[in-house]
Protein backbone atom coordinates (compact mmCIF):
# COMPACT_ATOMS: atom_id res chain seq x y z
CA UNK A 1 0.00 0.00 0.00
CA UNK A 2 1.39 3.33 -1.09
CA UNK A 3 1.88 5.95 1.59
CA UNK A 4 -0.58 8.83 1.61
CA UNK A 5 -0.66 12.31 3.12
CA UNK A 6 -3.71 14.32 4.17
CA UNK A 7 -4.41 17.33 2.01
CA UNK A 8 -7.88 18.57 2.99
CA UNK A 9 -9.64 17.84 6.27
CA UNK A 10 -13.24 16.68 6.20
CA UNK A 11 -14.88 20.05 7.12
CA UNK A 12 -12.91 21.72 4.33
CA UNK A 13 -13.99 19.10 1.85
CA UNK A 14 -17.64 19.45 2.89
CA UNK A 15 -17.42 23.22 2.50
CA UNK A 16 -15.86 22.75 -0.93
CA UNK A 17 -18.61 20.48 -2.19
CA UNK A 18 -21.48 22.43 -0.65
CA UNK A 19 -20.10 25.60 -2.19
CA UNK A 20 -19.45 23.90 -5.50
CA UNK A 21 -23.02 22.60 -5.58
CA UNK A 22 -24.47 25.99 -4.68
CA UNK A 23 -22.29 27.67 -7.30
CA UNK A 24 -23.38 25.22 -9.98
CA UNK A 25 -27.04 25.94 -9.25
CA UNK A 26 -26.36 29.69 -9.14
CA UNK A 27 -24.45 29.43 -12.41
CA UNK A 28 -27.22 27.56 -14.23
CA UNK A 29 -30.07 29.70 -12.90
CA UNK A 30 -28.08 32.80 -13.82
CA UNK A 31 -27.28 31.47 -17.28
CA UNK A 32 -30.98 31.47 -18.21
CA UNK A 33 -31.02 35.28 -18.04
CA UNK A 34 -27.73 35.48 -19.92
CA UNK A 35 -28.59 33.46 -23.02
CA UNK A 36 -31.79 34.77 -24.63
CA UNK A 37 -32.62 31.34 -26.10
CA UNK A 38 -32.78 29.91 -22.57
CA UNK A 39 -34.84 32.83 -21.27
CA UNK A 40 -38.11 30.92 -21.43
CA UNK A 41 -36.87 28.77 -18.54
CA UNK A 42 -36.85 31.83 -16.30
CA UNK A 43 -40.49 32.74 -16.77
CA UNK A 44 -42.70 33.09 -13.71
CA UNK A 45 -39.63 33.72 -11.52
CA UNK A 46 -38.99 30.08 -10.55
CA UNK A 47 -35.32 30.20 -11.44
CA UNK A 48 -35.02 33.32 -9.27
CA UNK A 49 -36.45 31.44 -6.31
CA UNK A 50 -33.98 28.57 -6.85
CA UNK A 51 -31.19 31.11 -7.35
CA UNK A 52 -32.01 32.65 -3.97
CA UNK A 53 -32.12 29.33 -2.14
CA UNK A 54 -28.71 28.46 -3.60
CA UNK A 55 -27.47 31.96 -2.75
CA UNK A 56 -28.48 31.48 0.87
CA UNK A 57 -26.48 28.23 1.00
CA UNK A 58 -23.57 29.95 -0.76
CA UNK A 59 -23.50 32.64 1.95
CA UNK A 60 -24.31 30.54 5.00
CA UNK A 61 -21.89 27.64 4.32
CA UNK A 62 -18.68 29.68 4.85
CA UNK A 63 -20.31 31.54 7.75
CA UNK A 64 -20.72 28.20 9.51
CA UNK A 65 -17.33 26.88 8.48
CA UNK A 66 -15.20 29.86 9.50
CA UNK A 67 -16.02 30.11 13.25
CA UNK A 68 -15.76 26.32 13.62
CA UNK A 69 -12.43 26.20 11.76
CA UNK A 70 -10.65 29.40 12.68
CA UNK A 71 -7.14 28.03 12.18
CA UNK A 72 -7.71 26.50 8.75
CA UNK A 73 -9.68 29.54 7.61
CA UNK A 74 -6.92 31.91 8.61
CA UNK A 75 -4.27 29.66 7.09
CA UNK A 76 -6.27 29.40 3.88
CA UNK A 77 -6.76 33.13 3.55
CA UNK A 78 -3.07 33.80 4.19
CA UNK A 79 -2.25 31.22 1.54
CA UNK A 80 -4.30 33.05 -1.09
CA UNK A 81 -2.28 36.22 -0.57
CA UNK A 82 1.14 34.61 -0.23
CA UNK A 83 2.89 35.08 -3.56
CA UNK A 84 6.58 34.65 -4.38
CA UNK A 85 9.08 34.15 -7.17
CA UNK A 86 8.18 30.48 -7.62
CA UNK A 87 4.70 31.64 -8.61
CA UNK A 88 6.22 33.65 -11.42
CA UNK A 89 8.26 30.62 -12.42
CA UNK A 90 5.14 28.48 -12.36
CA UNK A 91 3.30 30.87 -14.68
CA UNK A 92 6.24 30.80 -17.10
CA UNK A 93 6.44 27.00 -17.06
CA UNK A 94 2.68 26.29 -17.01
CA UNK A 95 2.08 26.37 -20.81
CA UNK A 96 4.91 23.89 -21.33
CA UNK A 97 3.49 21.67 -18.62
CA UNK A 98 -0.19 21.79 -19.52
CA UNK A 99 0.33 21.53 -23.29
CA UNK A 100 3.52 19.50 -23.69
CA UNK A 101 3.61 17.60 -20.39
CA UNK A 102 6.99 19.16 -19.70
CA UNK A 103 7.38 18.79 -15.94
CA UNK A 104 11.07 19.64 -15.62
CA UNK A 105 10.68 23.44 -15.74
CA UNK A 106 8.03 23.58 -12.98
CA UNK A 107 9.44 25.22 -9.83
CA UNK A 108 8.66 23.51 -6.50
CA UNK A 109 5.22 24.43 -5.15
CA UNK A 110 3.80 24.84 -1.67
CA UNK A 111 0.47 23.48 -0.38
CA UNK A 112 -1.28 25.14 -3.32
CA UNK A 113 0.32 25.68 -6.68
CA UNK A 114 0.08 29.04 -8.40
CA UNK A 115 -2.91 28.09 -10.52
CA UNK A 116 -4.82 26.80 -7.52
CA UNK A 117 -3.96 29.98 -5.62
CA UNK A 118 -5.21 32.17 -8.48
CA UNK A 119 -8.53 30.35 -8.49
CA UNK A 120 -8.77 30.42 -4.70
CA UNK A 121 -8.06 34.17 -4.66
CA UNK A 122 -10.78 34.67 -7.29
CA UNK A 123 -13.23 32.65 -5.22
CA UNK A 124 -12.62 34.96 -2.26
CA UNK A 125 -12.73 38.25 -4.19
CA UNK A 126 -15.61 37.43 -6.51
CA UNK A 127 -17.46 35.68 -3.71
CA UNK A 128 -17.67 39.05 -1.98
CA UNK A 129 -18.56 40.81 -5.24
CA UNK A 130 -21.40 38.36 -5.90
CA UNK A 131 -22.75 38.50 -2.36
CA UNK A 132 -22.67 42.31 -2.06
CA UNK A 133 -24.20 43.03 -5.47
CA UNK A 134 -26.66 40.17 -5.02
CA UNK A 135 -27.88 41.32 -1.62
CA UNK A 136 -28.46 44.83 -2.96
CA UNK A 137 -30.55 43.43 -5.84
CA UNK A 138 -32.39 41.09 -3.50
CA UNK A 139 -33.24 43.27 -0.53
CA UNK A 140 -33.20 46.78 -1.95
CA UNK A 141 -34.92 46.11 -5.28
CA UNK A 142 -37.83 48.42 -4.57
CA UNK A 143 -35.97 51.20 -2.73
CA UNK A 144 -32.50 51.52 -4.29
CA UNK A 145 -32.03 54.10 -7.05
CA UNK A 146 -32.53 52.48 -10.49
CA UNK A 147 -29.03 53.50 -11.60
CA UNK A 148 -27.48 51.66 -8.63
CA UNK A 149 -29.48 48.52 -9.40
CA UNK A 150 -28.33 48.66 -13.01
CA UNK A 151 -24.70 48.89 -11.89
CA UNK A 152 -25.24 45.91 -9.58
CA UNK A 153 -26.59 43.86 -12.51
CA UNK A 154 -23.61 44.89 -14.61
CA UNK A 155 -21.03 44.02 -11.94
CA UNK A 156 -22.81 40.76 -11.08
CA UNK A 157 -22.65 39.93 -14.80
CA UNK A 158 -18.94 40.66 -15.12
CA UNK A 159 -18.24 38.52 -12.06
CA UNK A 160 -20.42 35.80 -13.60
CA UNK A 161 -18.43 35.81 -16.84
CA UNK A 162 -15.02 35.77 -15.12
CA UNK A 163 -15.81 33.11 -12.53
CA UNK A 164 -17.99 31.11 -14.93
CA UNK A 165 -15.13 30.78 -17.40
CA UNK A 166 -12.63 29.99 -14.64
CA UNK A 167 -15.09 27.46 -13.16
CA UNK A 168 -14.78 25.48 -16.41
CA UNK A 169 -11.00 25.81 -16.26
CA UNK A 170 -11.01 24.67 -12.62
CA UNK A 171 -13.04 21.53 -13.37
CA UNK A 172 -10.95 20.83 -16.45
CA UNK A 173 -7.61 21.16 -14.70
CA UNK A 174 -8.75 19.13 -11.69
CA UNK A 175 -10.32 16.10 -13.32
CA UNK A 176 -10.28 16.24 -17.13
CA UNK A 177 -6.78 17.28 -18.18
CA UNK A 178 -4.80 14.21 -19.38
CA UNK A 179 -2.05 14.79 -16.76
CA UNK A 180 -4.67 14.66 -13.96
CA UNK A 181 -5.31 11.03 -14.72
CA UNK A 182 -5.51 8.58 -13.09
CA UNK A 183 -7.86 10.44 -10.73
CA UNK A 184 -7.08 8.42 -7.62
CA UNK A 185 -3.68 10.01 -7.05
CA UNK A 186 -4.04 13.76 -7.44
CA UNK A 187 -6.45 16.69 -7.26
CA UNK A 188 -9.64 14.65 -7.41
CA UNK A 189 -8.44 12.39 -4.66
CA UNK A 190 -7.46 15.35 -2.48
CA UNK A 191 -11.00 16.76 -2.55
CA UNK A 192 -12.90 13.47 -2.70
CA UNK A 193 -11.00 11.52 -0.02
CA UNK A 194 -8.80 14.25 1.43
CA UNK A 195 -5.62 12.30 0.72
CA UNK A 196 -3.01 12.15 -2.00
CA UNK A 197 -0.18 9.72 -2.51
CA UNK A 198 3.16 10.68 -1.01
CA UNK A 199 4.64 10.43 -4.48
CA UNK A 200 2.13 12.96 -5.83
CA UNK A 201 2.74 15.31 -2.91
CA UNK A 202 6.50 15.15 -3.43
CA UNK A 203 6.37 15.72 -7.17
CA UNK A 204 3.60 18.36 -7.28
CA UNK A 205 3.94 20.18 -3.97
CA UNK A 206 7.59 19.73 -3.05
CA UNK A 207 7.81 22.66 -0.63
CA UNK A 208 4.69 21.57 1.23
CA UNK A 209 5.82 17.96 1.35
CA UNK A 210 9.20 19.05 2.67
CA UNK A 211 7.51 21.08 5.42
CA UNK A 212 5.06 18.42 6.63
CA UNK A 213 7.63 15.68 6.66
CA UNK A 214 10.36 17.89 8.20
CA UNK A 215 12.68 16.82 5.39
CA UNK A 216 12.45 13.17 6.25
CA UNK A 217 9.91 10.44 5.57
CA UNK A 218 6.32 10.55 6.73
CA UNK A 219 6.00 9.72 10.39
Amino acid sequence: MEQEVERYRKPTRILHWVHAGAFTVLFLTGLVLFIPQLGFLAQDSWTRLIHRIAAAIFIIAPLIYIPLNWKSSWKGIKEAFNWGKDDFGWLMAAPGYYFLANEEAMPPQDHMNTGQKMWWLMVIVFGFVFVITGIIMWAFKTVAPPALLQWMVLIHDVAFIVTGVMFFVHIYLSVIHPLMRPLRTGAWSSMARGKVSAHYARSHHAKWYERITKGGEIK
Binding site: F34, D44, Y98, L100, Q150, L154, V165, H177
Partner: protein
Protein backbone atom coordinates in the same frame (compact mmCIF):
# COMPACT_ATOMS: atom_id res chain seq x y z
CA UNK B 1 -46.58 47.86 -42.54
CA UNK B 2 -46.94 51.50 -41.71
CA UNK B 3 -46.21 52.25 -38.09
CA UNK B 4 -49.11 53.32 -35.91
CA UNK B 5 -49.16 55.90 -33.13
CA UNK B 6 -51.37 57.70 -30.65
CA UNK B 7 -51.43 61.48 -30.79
CA UNK B 8 -52.29 63.13 -27.49
CA UNK B 9 -53.19 66.82 -27.63
CA UNK B 10 -52.62 68.20 -24.15
CA UNK B 11 -54.33 71.43 -25.10
CA UNK B 12 -57.62 69.72 -25.94
CA UNK B 13 -57.56 67.35 -22.95
CA UNK B 14 -60.11 68.13 -20.24
CA UNK B 15 -58.57 65.58 -17.84
CA UNK B 16 -61.89 63.79 -17.49
CA UNK B 17 -59.87 60.60 -16.92
CA UNK B 18 -62.21 58.65 -19.16
CA UNK B 19 -59.14 57.09 -20.78
CA UNK B 20 -57.92 55.96 -17.37
CA UNK B 21 -61.21 54.20 -16.67
CA UNK B 22 -61.52 52.76 -20.20
CA UNK B 23 -57.97 51.39 -19.95
CA UNK B 24 -58.73 49.57 -16.71
CA UNK B 25 -62.05 48.31 -18.01
CA UNK B 26 -60.85 46.99 -21.36
CA UNK B 27 -57.70 45.42 -19.97
CA UNK B 28 -59.56 43.82 -17.06
CA UNK B 29 -57.69 45.81 -14.47
CA UNK B 30 -60.99 47.16 -13.22
CA UNK B 31 -61.65 44.55 -10.59
CA UNK B 32 -58.82 45.91 -8.54
CA UNK B 33 -59.71 48.02 -5.54
CA UNK B 34 -56.50 48.98 -3.73
CA UNK B 35 -56.46 48.87 0.03
CA UNK B 36 -53.83 50.41 2.30
CA UNK B 37 -52.55 46.98 3.37
CA UNK B 38 -52.11 45.86 -0.23
CA UNK B 39 -48.53 46.70 -1.12
CA UNK B 40 -49.00 45.86 -4.76
CA UNK B 41 -51.51 48.61 -5.33
CA UNK B 42 -51.38 52.32 -5.06
CA UNK B 43 -54.11 53.57 -2.81
CA UNK B 44 -56.32 56.30 -4.16
CA UNK B 45 -56.46 59.07 -1.62
CA UNK B 46 -57.58 62.62 -1.15
CA UNK B 47 -54.34 64.51 -1.47
CA UNK B 48 -55.53 67.77 -2.94
CA UNK B 49 -55.51 66.74 -6.57
CA UNK B 50 -57.78 65.01 -9.02
CA UNK B 51 -54.71 62.92 -9.85
CA UNK B 52 -55.72 59.53 -8.54
CA UNK B 53 -54.53 56.94 -7.87
CA UNK B 54 -51.39 58.95 -7.12
CA UNK B 55 -49.12 56.62 -9.09
CA UNK B 56 -49.09 53.92 -11.73
CA UNK B 57 -49.24 50.31 -10.57
CA UNK B 58 -49.39 46.85 -12.13
CA UNK B 59 -53.14 47.43 -12.36
CA UNK B 60 -53.01 51.06 -13.46
CA UNK B 61 -51.32 51.36 -16.84
CA UNK B 62 -52.56 54.83 -17.66
CA UNK B 63 -52.97 57.81 -15.39
CA UNK B 64 -53.61 61.47 -16.04
CA UNK B 65 -51.00 63.73 -14.49
CA UNK B 66 -52.11 67.13 -13.21
CA UNK B 67 -49.46 69.83 -13.01
CA UNK B 68 -50.03 73.26 -11.49
CA UNK B 69 -47.63 75.94 -12.68
CA UNK B 70 -47.45 79.44 -11.26
CA UNK B 71 -47.01 81.91 -14.10
CA UNK B 72 -46.95 85.60 -13.17
CA UNK B 73 -49.35 85.00 -10.31
CA UNK B 74 -51.74 83.05 -12.52
CA UNK B 75 -52.17 79.34 -12.08
CA UNK B 76 -51.79 77.20 -15.17
CA UNK B 77 -53.37 73.80 -14.83
CA UNK B 78 -51.63 71.41 -17.20
CA UNK B 79 -52.65 67.85 -18.05
CA UNK B 80 -50.53 65.01 -19.41
CA UNK B 81 -50.93 61.39 -19.97
CA UNK B 82 -48.65 59.09 -17.98
CA UNK B 83 -48.36 55.70 -19.69
CA UNK B 84 -45.96 53.78 -21.86
CA UNK B 85 -44.55 56.00 -24.64
CA UNK B 86 -43.78 53.01 -26.92
CA UNK B 87 -40.25 54.10 -27.88
CA UNK B 88 -38.40 53.00 -30.98
CA UNK B 89 -35.14 52.88 -28.97
CA UNK B 90 -36.86 51.17 -26.09
CA UNK B 91 -34.65 50.65 -23.03
CA UNK B 92 -37.06 48.01 -21.69
CA UNK B 93 -36.86 45.91 -24.88
CA UNK B 94 -33.08 46.25 -24.76
CA UNK B 95 -32.73 44.90 -21.22
CA UNK B 96 -35.53 42.31 -21.27
CA UNK B 97 -33.70 38.97 -20.97
CA UNK B 98 -36.14 36.79 -22.92
CA UNK B 99 -38.12 38.89 -25.36
CA UNK B 100 -41.14 39.33 -23.08
CA UNK B 101 -41.06 42.99 -24.10
CA UNK B 102 -40.78 43.28 -27.87
CA UNK B 103 -41.52 45.57 -30.75
CA UNK B 104 -44.88 44.92 -32.37
CA UNK B 105 -44.82 44.93 -36.17
CA UNK B 106 -46.65 48.28 -35.99
CA UNK B 107 -43.77 49.81 -34.02
CA UNK B 108 -44.97 49.97 -30.44
CA UNK B 109 -43.72 47.98 -27.45
CA UNK B 110 -45.89 44.94 -26.85
CA UNK B 111 -45.69 42.80 -23.73
CA UNK B 112 -46.31 39.11 -23.15
CA UNK B 113 -47.09 38.77 -19.47
CA UNK B 114 -46.95 34.95 -19.52
CA UNK B 115 -43.22 34.83 -20.19
CA UNK B 116 -42.19 37.67 -17.84
CA UNK B 117 -39.45 36.50 -15.47
CA UNK B 118 -39.98 39.37 -13.05
CA UNK B 119 -36.36 40.50 -13.17
CA UNK B 120 -37.45 44.13 -13.06
CA UNK B 121 -34.69 45.34 -15.38
CA UNK B 122 -37.28 47.20 -17.50
CA UNK B 123 -38.44 49.09 -14.42
CA UNK B 124 -34.91 50.32 -13.72
CA UNK B 125 -34.12 51.12 -17.36
CA UNK B 126 -37.27 53.00 -18.47
CA UNK B 127 -36.54 56.71 -18.91
CA UNK B 128 -40.22 57.46 -18.19
CA UNK B 129 -40.54 55.24 -15.06
CA UNK B 130 -43.53 53.41 -16.56
CA UNK B 131 -43.35 49.63 -15.95
CA UNK B 132 -44.44 48.46 -12.51
CA UNK B 133 -44.42 45.01 -10.95
CA UNK B 134 -45.91 42.89 -8.28
CA UNK B 135 -43.01 41.56 -6.25
CA UNK B 136 -42.41 39.31 -3.29
CA UNK B 137 -39.19 40.71 -1.84
CA UNK B 138 -38.21 37.46 -0.12
CA UNK B 139 -38.80 34.93 -2.89
CA UNK B 140 -38.29 37.32 -5.80
CA UNK B 141 -41.45 36.07 -7.49
CA UNK B 142 -42.59 39.03 -9.57
CA UNK B 143 -44.50 40.08 -12.70
CA UNK B 144 -44.13 43.36 -14.50
CA UNK B 145 -46.98 45.13 -16.23
CA UNK B 146 -47.49 48.13 -18.45
CA UNK B 147 -49.63 49.46 -21.30
CA UNK B 148 -49.62 46.94 -24.16
CA UNK B 149 -51.16 49.35 -26.69
CA UNK B 150 -54.30 47.19 -26.34
CA UNK B 151 -52.51 44.16 -27.85
CA UNK B 152 -52.81 41.81 -24.86
CA UNK B 153 -53.60 38.35 -26.20
CA UNK B 154 -57.35 37.84 -26.14
CA UNK B 155 -57.93 41.56 -25.69
CA UNK B 156 -56.22 42.64 -28.89
CA UNK B 157 -58.09 45.67 -30.24
CA UNK B 158 -55.36 46.60 -32.73
CA UNK B 159 -55.40 43.37 -34.74
CA UNK B 160 -59.19 43.66 -34.81
CA UNK B 161 -58.68 46.97 -36.57
CA UNK B 162 -59.95 49.08 -33.66
CA UNK B 163 -58.28 52.00 -31.95
CA UNK B 164 -56.94 51.56 -28.39
CA UNK B 165 -59.52 51.79 -25.59
CA UNK B 166 -58.21 55.15 -24.33
CA UNK B 167 -58.56 56.70 -27.79
CA UNK B 168 -62.02 55.23 -28.30
CA UNK B 169 -63.37 56.81 -25.16
CA UNK B 170 -61.85 60.31 -25.35
CA UNK B 171 -64.76 62.83 -25.50
CA UNK B 172 -62.88 65.94 -26.73
CA UNK B 173 -60.84 63.88 -29.23
CA UNK B 174 -57.62 64.82 -27.48
CA UNK B 175 -56.47 61.31 -28.31
CA UNK B 176 -56.19 60.17 -31.90
CA UNK B 177 -54.91 56.95 -33.39
CA UNK B 178 -53.58 56.31 -36.88
CA UNK B 179 -50.49 55.97 -39.07
CA UNK B 180 -47.52 57.49 -37.28
CA UNK B 181 -46.73 59.72 -40.27
CA UNK B 182 -50.26 61.12 -40.24
CA UNK B 183 -50.15 61.65 -36.47
CA UNK B 184 -46.92 63.61 -36.80
CA UNK B 185 -48.35 65.76 -39.58
CA UNK B 186 -51.47 66.39 -37.49
CA UNK B 187 -49.39 67.12 -34.41
CA UNK B 188 -47.12 69.54 -36.26
CA UNK B 189 -50.18 71.37 -37.58
CA UNK B 190 -51.51 71.69 -34.06
CA UNK B 191 -48.15 72.97 -32.77
CA UNK B 192 -48.03 75.57 -35.58
CA UNK B 193 -51.53 76.72 -34.64
CA UNK B 194 -50.53 76.99 -30.97
CA UNK B 195 -47.42 78.98 -31.84
CA UNK B 196 -49.52 81.32 -34.01
CA UNK B 197 -51.75 81.85 -30.99
CA UNK B 198 -48.79 82.97 -28.89
CA UNK B 199 -47.68 79.71 -27.29
CA UNK B 200 -44.11 80.20 -28.46
CA UNK B 201 -42.75 77.09 -26.73
CA UNK B 202 -45.37 74.78 -28.19
CA UNK B 203 -43.66 71.47 -28.93
CA UNK B 204 -44.38 68.10 -30.49
CA UNK B 205 -42.94 65.59 -28.02
CA UNK B 206 -42.05 62.17 -29.39
CA UNK B 207 -41.34 63.04 -32.99
CA UNK B 208 -37.61 62.48 -32.51
CA UNK B 209 -37.17 61.44 -28.85
CA UNK B 210 -35.65 57.93 -28.48
CA UNK B 211 -35.72 57.28 -32.20
CA UNK B 212 -39.37 58.31 -32.33
CA UNK B 213 -42.11 57.52 -29.82
CA UNK B 214 -45.38 55.86 -30.74
CA UNK B 215 -47.28 58.09 -28.34
CA UNK B 216 -46.81 61.67 -29.45
CA UNK B 217 -47.75 64.69 -27.36
CA UNK B 218 -48.73 68.09 -28.67
CA UNK B 219 -47.74 70.43 -25.82
CA UNK B 220 -48.31 74.16 -25.37
CA UNK B 221 -45.02 74.55 -23.47
CA UNK B 222 -41.62 72.92 -22.90
CA UNK B 223 -41.76 69.22 -21.98
CA UNK B 224 -40.15 69.79 -18.58
CA UNK B 225 -43.04 72.05 -17.57
CA UNK B 226 -45.24 68.96 -17.87
CA UNK B 227 -42.75 66.84 -15.95
CA UNK B 228 -41.56 65.04 -19.07
CA UNK B 229 -37.83 64.28 -19.49
CA UNK B 230 -36.13 66.53 -22.04
CA UNK B 231 -34.08 64.44 -24.46
CA UNK B 232 -34.64 61.07 -22.70
CA UNK B 233 -31.94 58.42 -23.22
CA UNK B 234 -31.51 54.68 -22.87
CA UNK B 235 -29.22 54.36 -19.80
CA UNK B 236 -25.57 53.78 -20.73
CA UNK B 237 -25.31 50.88 -18.25
CA UNK B 238 -28.16 49.08 -20.03
CA UNK B 239 -26.41 49.39 -23.39
CA UNK B 240 -22.97 48.48 -22.01
CA UNK B 241 -24.35 45.43 -20.31
CA UNK B 242 -26.53 44.01 -23.09
CA UNK B 243 -24.60 45.11 -26.17
CA UNK B 244 -21.00 44.79 -24.93
CA UNK B 245 -20.56 42.71 -21.80
CA UNK B 246 -22.98 39.89 -22.61
CA UNK B 247 -21.57 39.29 -26.11
CA UNK B 248 -18.06 39.32 -24.61
CA UNK B 249 -19.29 36.70 -22.16
CA UNK B 250 -20.64 34.46 -24.92
CA UNK B 251 -17.40 34.73 -26.89
CA UNK B 252 -15.20 34.11 -23.83
CA UNK B 253 -17.31 31.14 -22.78
CA UNK B 254 -17.15 29.60 -26.26
CA UNK B 255 -13.42 30.27 -26.63
CA UNK B 256 -12.74 28.70 -23.23
CA UNK B 257 -14.57 25.49 -24.12
CA UNK B 258 -12.85 25.27 -27.51
CA UNK B 259 -9.47 26.13 -25.95
CA UNK B 260 -9.81 23.48 -23.27
CA UNK B 261 -10.80 20.94 -25.91
CA UNK B 262 -7.71 21.75 -27.98
CA UNK B 263 -5.53 21.62 -24.90
CA UNK B 264 -6.93 18.20 -24.12
CA UNK B 265 -6.00 16.85 -27.55
CA UNK B 266 -2.50 18.36 -27.54
CA UNK B 267 -1.70 17.40 -23.94
CA UNK B 268 -2.97 13.85 -24.42
CA UNK B 269 -0.65 13.39 -27.38
CA UNK B 270 2.28 14.90 -25.46
CA UNK B 271 1.60 12.68 -22.47
CA UNK B 272 1.44 9.53 -24.59
CA UNK B 273 4.62 10.33 -26.48
CA UNK B 274 6.42 10.81 -23.17
CA UNK B 275 5.07 7.59 -21.69
CA UNK B 276 5.81 5.40 -24.68
CA UNK B 277 9.65 5.47 -24.53
CA UNK B 278 9.47 4.98 -20.76
CA UNK B 279 7.46 1.82 -21.27
CA UNK B 280 9.82 0.52 -23.92
CA UNK B 281 12.80 0.84 -21.56
CA UNK B 282 11.12 -1.57 -19.18
Amino acid sequence: MAEKAILYDATKCTACRGCQAACKQWNENDEYIPTPSDREGVQAENWGSYENPPDLSPQTWLKMRFTEVDKNGKVRWLFTRQACMHCTDAACVNVCPNGTLYHHELGFVAYNKDTCTGCGYCIDACPFQIPRSTRNLLTGIAKADKCTFCTTAGLDRISAGWEPACVKTCPPKALQYGDRETMITEGMKRVQTLRAKGYNNAYLYGEKELGGLHVIYALEDDPQVYGLPVNPQVPATAIAWKKVIQPIGWVLGALTIVGLGLNFLIARKAKMSRELPAKKEK
